[in-house]
Amino acid sequence: MVRFEAQGAPGSSTLPAARVRRIIKEDKDIFACGSESLYLITRATEFFIDSLIREGYEFSRLEKRKTVQYKDMAKAAQSIEQYDFLGDIIPPNISLKNPKNKQ
């Protein structure tokens, strides 16, 4: 399922590990992250991008479009359980007929 091959030297990553480390460090609960773990998280993120964009692409294909759009990503995030954590990031288009907060 995961088909992305990292370009460049084996054992390296495309995403910059130092940047990933800084993002991880934003979480104050995390005491320390070993450099090998950092590498694994960096690579896992690359695979994640790959999976997510391909899922989005499948939805754009269903509508015979050549551009992957926001709504394709929204559908991808909703359709796959592992992507539940993206719920707040990709809010589905909220229908005006059913407002969630009634005051």
């Binding site: 495309t14 995403l15 993002i23 320390a32 694994l40 896992a44 993120t45 993206l86």
Partner: protein, 166 residues
């Protein structure tokens, strides 16, 4: 590592995210050649990545703490991926991990292979080094004594002419 991020200036910690250009490049590589990605979609992916990193790091940290450890280790990350339903990444990530470790040992090993290639043991290397130093010292001393011979009246090591010229 350099934090250079092209045209966007210094980034506040709150806005910390992966470098846009790199992520855009990855997207381009992952999609078929004739497929484009809308700009808002690309930016969305950046945010998704951030969430993902936080998710994995946080889960890894919990697993790490359960083992009464303080530093997130590789196995914690692998377990976290499994736990969060990303088991399809696990084998790929493990392969990448193996490659990475091979690369690390190669880099460390490279320092010793240079020496090994000379075919001499450490003792022999030390001896030849001392020999080279001794030779250099002799050359230096010889060059200083020849200088003093030509410029002063002090008797030289060479015994002959002055004695016989009476």
């Amino acid at each position: 590592m350099s934090d250079y991020e092209g045209s966007s200036g210094p980034v506040a910690d709150d806005d910390l995210s992966l470098p846009r250009a790199t992520v855009y490049k990855l997207i381009g590589e992952m999609l078929p050649q004739d497929i484009a990605c809308a700009k808002d979609t690309r930016d969305l992916l950046l945010d998704c990545c951030n969430e993902f990193i936080h998710l994995i790091a946080s889960e890894s940290n919990e697993i790490c703490e359960k083992e009464a450890k303080k530093t997130i280790a590789a196995e914690h990350v692998l377990a976290a991926l499994q736990e969060l339903g990303f088991e399809k990444y696990v084998s790929e990530v493990q392969d990448a991990y193996e490659e990475h470790r091979k690369q690390q040992t190669k880099d460390r090993g490279r320092k010793s292979t240079k020496l090994n290639k000379l075919g001499m043991s450490e003792e022999e290397l030390l001896r030849s080094q001392e020999l080279l130093f001794a030779q250099a010292r002799m050359r230096y001393q010889n060059s200083t004594t020849t200088q003093s011979q030509s410029s002063s009246d002090t008797p030289s090591m060479d015994p002959a002419p002055t004695n016989g010229a009476q």
